[in-house]
């Protein structure tokens, strides 16, 4: 942005003036002190910062003293394409007007004008940088706060990465603004600088720990409570057991007490009995003796009666036994007889069977003999046997031989018809067809005639005759033999001989059969035996008694016999048994007779003893008379009663003593004592158990109503919420931290890149002032921290006021140079370099000259020559109030 023109009216001491500035280059506005130079800079500030109707003290202060008039400020500005005139009248008749000149023409007034102007200014320049770069009178020594300046940062960025194409001003502004918000986020959780966790994080952690401790404490109490509930249940169970044990101990003790009492009473009783027994020992002995004897006597008497009865009974019981034994014997005899009968029956059937067998043999033998006789008779019918046949066979063979010889010697005739013809042989005619043959051998003459054509005679020779005669002889011989044998021919002879041979064979077979049937026996002997057997059988049958009936057949007979034998065995056994019983009965009888005898003897012996005892007792003390009517019996009874009583006492004492011994009185005493101790202990334990139970019950009741579990759950719930919050917080903190670190690292890296261009510019300008060995160090906020000159580094604070001012101006100039292009702002120096020596001033002038080539510089000064060294500068004299330059 460039300020092209400035007009003031009624502004502090300035009545009216209008100044025009070089858009590029240095304009020096020179005037004496209090000429109102500072009003110029102030007017620009007011125009930009305050509305025309502002009642601010600063606004009111610009009204000329003593004059109620409006103070007017008008500025013509250019930023890139945009050009406008901005006018305000403050205080009296306040007004705002904006005349847009380019690129379009428009006029706005009032608030609208103010808003539009602000917008244009903000778009056109970096307001922060504008303010930072201004050095006002007296305030110029402070290092410029260019930190947040977007133009500067953009310029620096541009300078740092000029090759890559810089980001726009807006982007850079956004980057810095964003970083500021990131820092704000970060510092919610961490301290700046060291990055320690802030109280909110530690508090969140602490809260979780606290709540966790609460929860643990409550859970612990709850666990204790649960353990006590458990203990309570255990105590109750133990209490039950103890009650049972107590009941048992009580019952045991009572039992033992009773036992002890019993033992004591028994001992007393024994004592009494023993005393009584001792006092009447003598008397009792006598009573006892007599009583015993009497009792014995009566026992013996009774026994004798019993034994007598028994002996009698034994004798009586013998009779049936004997009877039964007899019966058994009879039975046995009978069974023996039946067995014998059955055996005979069986033998009879064996004989009958034998007889049947023999009869069958005899019949078969007779049959075979009849056949032999018949075949022998038949044999006579066939008279030619082999002996007679032989000469006939011989003669027959001779005939055959002769016939053969004759046949061999006879002519052989063969005729073949050449056409159909009739052939007559020895007068016998036969028809022949062409090709038919006729053949004949002949020993005789033969007459042949063929049709009516030819007759043929055939005569045999001499040899044939001889052969014929031989044949005749032989035939005769054969006939003779046959007639001798009584047959017509050799054939018949052979037939007869054959039949004879067959009959002979059958005969031999029949003879053999007969032999087999007899089996080496003689047929007559068999007959004899058979007769004998038949007689025997008949005799048995006739002689056998009718009952028991005989069995039908051998099998049945055998079964009957076996049954009879079994019966016999049984009968034998029965007899043995009866015999044994009888023997026993006899023994009993003998024994009881013997016992009776003994008892009688014993009774006698007791009687003797009684006699003796009575004698001992003496008649003066005891009337033991036996008379029925006397007082004896009652005395005897009394005596016996006394005797019995004494005996009873003694016996009771003995029994009691024995029982007492059984009771183990010492043991009873020890046990009783122990059971009393157990009882006491059980009572104590139960009381203790109940005491603890009661205490615990009260405690648990109170604790149970304390709502411990709900409290624990509540703590758990609060803990969960705290954990959620803490984790959420930690998460946000971690995010803010990560973002901050990433961003500040990137920013630092970019800052480091900015340092170079800025310090380079400062040093390039500064070397003209401080010499070639001048250098500066910039801090993180891009402020000059140290100046290095000739190898000596000094912090800025240690420098002289002049040097500090020069450095401050150099810094601003460097910045202005860096942002001199589109983002450039006018650099206004108000009454500066007052501390500079002439050499430095000259050098600074040279620097300003250089800077003026790149941006607009406005210098207000009271010293006409101070900036004479700025050769390119346009000099404007700013005169008195009433006389503008």
């Amino acid at each position: 942005m460039k300020i092209l023109r400035l007009r003031l009216k009624n502004f502090r001491g300035v009545a009216e003036c209008e100044l025009e500035f070089l858009a590029q280059g240095v304009t020096v506005i020179q005037g004496p002190n209090e000429a109102g130079k500072s009003s110029l800079a102030e007017a620009i500030d007011l125009l930009f910062d305050f509305r025309s109707d502002s009642k601010s003290r600063r606004v009111k202060a610009v009204q000329p003293v003593g004059r109620d008039v409006g103070s007017e400020v008008e500025v013509e500005l250019r930023a890139g394409e945009v050009r406008f005139v901005y006018f305000k009248r403050f205080n009296r008749d306040h007004a705002t007007r904006l005349d847009l000149l380019a690129p379009s023409v428009e006029t706005l007034v009032g608030r609208e004008a103010h808003a539009k102007a602000n917008q244009l200014l903000e778009e056109a320049m970096d307001v922060t940088l504008w303010k930072a770069l201004r050095i006002q009178q007296g305030a110029g020594l402070e290092p410029a706060k260019v930190h947040g300046s977007s133009s500067l940062v953009a310029a620096l960025d541009h300078a740092a990465q000029s090759a890559e194409g810089a980001e726009s001003n807006a982007d850079a502004a956004r980057g810095e603004g964003l970083f500021a918000r990131v820092v704000e986020q970060y510092e919610r959780y961490y301290t700046p600088g060291k990055g320690k966790e802030r109280g909110n994080l530690t508090a969140a952690r602490k809260e979780v720990e606290q709540l966790e401790a609460d929860r643990r404490r409550l859970a612990g109490q709850l666990a204790e409570l649960a353990a006590e509930v458990e203990e309570m249940a255990t105590l109750r169970a133990i209490g039950g057991q103890l009650s049972e044990a107590l009941t048992k101990a009580e019952s045991d003790a009572a039992g033992h007490r009773e036992g002890l009492a019993k033992v004591d009473s028994m001992a007393q009783k024994i004592e009494g009995l023993e005393r009584r027994q001792g006092e009447s020992a003598e008397e009792e002995k006598l009573w006892a003796q007599l009583a015993q004897l009497e009792s014995q006597q009566s026992q013996h008497a009774e026994r004798a009666v019993t034994l007598g009865e028994r002996a009698e009974s034994a004798a009586r019981s013998l009779e049936p036994l004997e009877e039964r034994q007899r019966q058994a014997k009879d039975h046995l005899t009978l069974a023996g007889e039946i067995v014998a009968l059955r055996r005979r029956d069986e033998a009879h059937f064996a004989l009958a069977s034998q007889a049947r067998g023999l009869r069958s043999t005899a019949e078969r033998a007779a049959e075979a003999s009849a056949r032999v006789a018949k075949l022998s008779a038949r044999l006579a019918e066939f008279w030619i046997d082999d002996e007679r046949l032989a000469p006939i066979e011989h003669a027959a063979r001779a005939v055959t031989t002769a016939e053969g010889a004759l046949a061999g010697g006879s002519p052989h005739l063969r005729v073949k018809a050449l056409a159909d013809l009739e052939l007559a042989v020895d007068g016998e005619t036969q028809a022949m067809t062409a090709g038919e043959k006729f053949e004949q051998q002949t020993a005789n003459a033969l007459h042949l005639r063929v049709a009516e054509v030819v007759e043929i005679e055939i005569e045999p020779g001499a040899g044939v005759e001889e052969l014929r005669s031989t044949l005749s002889r032989r035939r005769w011989e054969l006939e003779r033999r046959c007639s001798e044998a009584g047959v017509a021919s050799a054939r018949e002879a052979r037939n007869v001989a054959d039949q004879r041979r067959r009959v002979q064979l059958e005969l031999a077979t029949a003879k053999e059969a007969r032999q087999r049937a007899l089996d080496g026996e003689d047929a007559e002997q068999i007959e004899e035996l058979l007769t004998e057997l038949d007689g025997e059988i008949k005799g048995y049958l006739d002689g056998r008694r009718s009952l028991p009936a005989m069995a039908q057949g051998a099998e049945a007979a055998r079964a009957d016999r076996e049954a009879a034998e079994t019966s016999l065995d049984e009968a034998r056994l029965r007899l043995d048994h009866c015999q044994e019983k009888l023997n026993e009965g006899r023994r009993d009888h003998q024994e009881s007779a013997l016992e009776l005898k003994e008892a009688v003897a014993e009774a006698a012996r007791v009687e003797q003893q009684m006699e003796w005892a009575r004698g001992q007792l003496g008649e003066d003390r005891f009337d033991l008379g036996t008379g029925e009517g006397s007082s004896g019996p009652s005395l005897a009874i009394r005596a016996r009663e006394a005797l019995e009583a004494a005996a009873l006492a003694a016996s009771e004492a003995r029994q009691a003593a024995a029982r007492l011994l059984d009771e183990q009185p010492e043991m009873v005493r020890v046990l009783s004592q122990r059971s009393e101790e157990v009882l006491r202990a059980a009572k104590e334990q139960l009381v203790e158990n109940q005491r603890r139970l009661h205490g615990l019950e009260e405690r648990l009741k109170a604790l149970g109503e304390g709502g411990l579990e709900e409290k624990r759950d509540d703590a758990r719930q609060r803990l969960a919420a705290a954990i959620r919050e803490r984790d959420d917080l930690l998460r946000r903190a971690a995010a803010a931290g990560a973002l901050y670190r990433a961003m500040s690292q990137a920013r630092e890296a970019s800052r480091a890149a900015y340092h170079g261009p800025l310090s380079g510019k400062i040093e390039a300008l500064g070397r003209r002032v401080f010499g070639r060995r001048f250098a500066v160090e910039l801090d993180d906020d891009l402020r000059i921290s140290r100046r290095i000159l000739d190898g000596t580094a000094l912090p800025v604070e240690a420098l002289s006021a002049g040097a500090r001012e020069q450095l401050a101006i150099l810094f601003r100039l460097a910045c202005a140079l860096l942002v001199s292009q589109d983002g450039g702002v006018p650099l206004i120096l108000d009454d500066s370099l007052g501390h500079a020596d002439p050499r430095r001033l000259a050098a600074m002038s040279e620097v300003l000259n250089e800077v003026g080539r790149h941006c607009q510089v406005l210098i207000f000064t009271a010293w006409p020559d101070r900036f004479a060294g700025v050769e390119s500068a346009r000099q404007i004299n700013f005169g008195t109030v009433d006389s503008p330059g």
């Binding site: 982007d171 918000r181 149970g704 759950d713």
Partner: protein
């Protein structure tokens, strides 16, 4: 009221409920939501009391876990007892959460001295007028050593009488396990039903209403208000009409709250919008607890949109539980980068964070930092009055 006739039971009507778990806390509920939750449960009890009167029930039996614990605060006890005040007798059976041990609520002073007249501890047999007996088998410790109901129906029953047994515990489904003596033996139950020693077994412990077996006479009523995400069908009580002729069991809705566990895979703006639609579709949001497990990956702008959706519903719902385990990851894409419009060192920082964010595990902070960056840029734009 359906009066029982003298001598023989003609008909009995009662409400079967259980597992009220009064005094229960849920760690994922914040303080206000927890208060609402507790209030809702008391209101459910009051509805049950009213329902019992309206339906002319003879009694109400609560089958165990009436209270979350024996160690609950006096305020909870008193409020619970007050909620039960009414005309119909209510029988409370101690369960595994509130056993009849040394610290039992039922023997505490508050209960014995301040309970309303219609509220009774159920321990053993109660004659409900002639002809019907109600038998409760309470838990006496947290570790029972025998079948938790069998004692209720072991005794023979007079001809013509009806027996309702109330118990608490898990069933063995007819397959007894020797190591689990604390299970309800279904074989025994079936036998008792078959030989007329039992006519209805009212069970508690399971928080979902469900019938056991096929007799129609063994039921879990479930909790009247839901207590957790895993329950299948909570929110009911059972109205039971029992007579010698038969049985009729009706489910009555009591609960108003619901617990919804939602899992989503996030990818793209559509998934965010779908989730928003799902949330919008929830009825009675103030009585709905949602546990959201959202996984996947979103761009910066989609994630910002999602955060808006979640913030909105976090306010609307009774509670929105977002377990830390299931979180989507956020990675900027080119559009995000362009929209951020960062240059210079800010852009370098963005690129650095982006590369950190892609690292598995320790990239969380970087991903969150990207989200923060996105937000700060947006805020900056708002503050500058500009934006795109």
């Amino acid at each position: 009221m359906s009066k029982l006739s003298i001598g023989r039971a003609e008909r009995v009507r009662f409400l079967h409920t259980g597992d009220w778990q009064l005094g229960m806390r849920r760690y994922y509920l914040d303080e206000a939501a927890q208060a609402d939750f507790a209030e809702a449960r008391l209101a459910a009890v009051e509805r049950i009391v009213r329902l019992a009167a309206e339906e002319e029930c003879d009694f109400v039996v609560v089958c165990g876990d009436v209270f979350e614990s024996n160690q609950i605060e006096a305020k909870t006890r008193l409020r619970a007892l007050e909620a039960m005040r009414g005309t119909v007798p209510i029988y409370l059976l101690p369960g595994n959460h509130d056993p009849l041990d040394a610290t039992a609520i039922y023997t505490s002073r508050i209960f014995t001295e301040q309970r309303p007249d219609n509220v009774h501890l159920l321990d053993g047999r109660v004659e409900m007028g002639a002809g019907v007996e109600l038998v409760g088998v309470p838990w006496r410790s947290k570790r029972p050593t025998e079948d938790p109901v069998a004692a209720g129906f072991s005794a023979e029953l007079e001809e013509g009488k009806l027996r309702v047994v109330a118990g608490h515990g898990q069933i063995d489904r007819g397959h007894p396990k020797p190591e689990r003596v604390d299970l309800i033996g279904m074989n025994r139950v079936e036998a008792a039903l078959a030989d007329g020693r039992l006519h209805y077994l009212a069970l508690g412990d399971r928080h979902s209403v469900s019938e056991v077996g096929e007799s129609g006479r063994v039921w879990y009523s479930g909790s009247p208000e839901p207590t957790d995400f895993v329950e299948e069908r909570p929110g009911f009580v059972l109205r039971v009409d029992l007579s010698a002729a038969g049985i009729e069991v009706e489910q009555r809705q009591i609960g108003r709250w619901s617990f919804e566990a939602k899992s989503v895979e996030l990818m793209g703006i559509e998934s965010v919008e779908a989730l928003a639609t799902w949330f919008d579709g929830l009825e009675d949001k103030r009585a709905t607890v949602v546990r959201l497990v959202a996984e996947g990956q979103l761009t910066l702008r989609d994630s910002a949109q999602l955060e808006e959706v979640l913030d909105r519903n976090d306010n609307l719902l009774a509670a929105l539980d977002r377990p830390a385990a299931g979180r989507w990851t956020v990675l900027p894409d080119d559009v995000d980068r362009e929209r951020l419009g960062l240059e210079g060192f800010a852009r370098e920082a963005l690129e650095e964070l982006q590369s950190q964010a892609q690292k598995e595990g320790d990239g969380d902070a970087a991903r969150d930092a990207l989200g923060l960056l996105y937000r700060l840029v947006a805020e900056g734009r708002d503050r500058d009055g500009g934006g795109e």
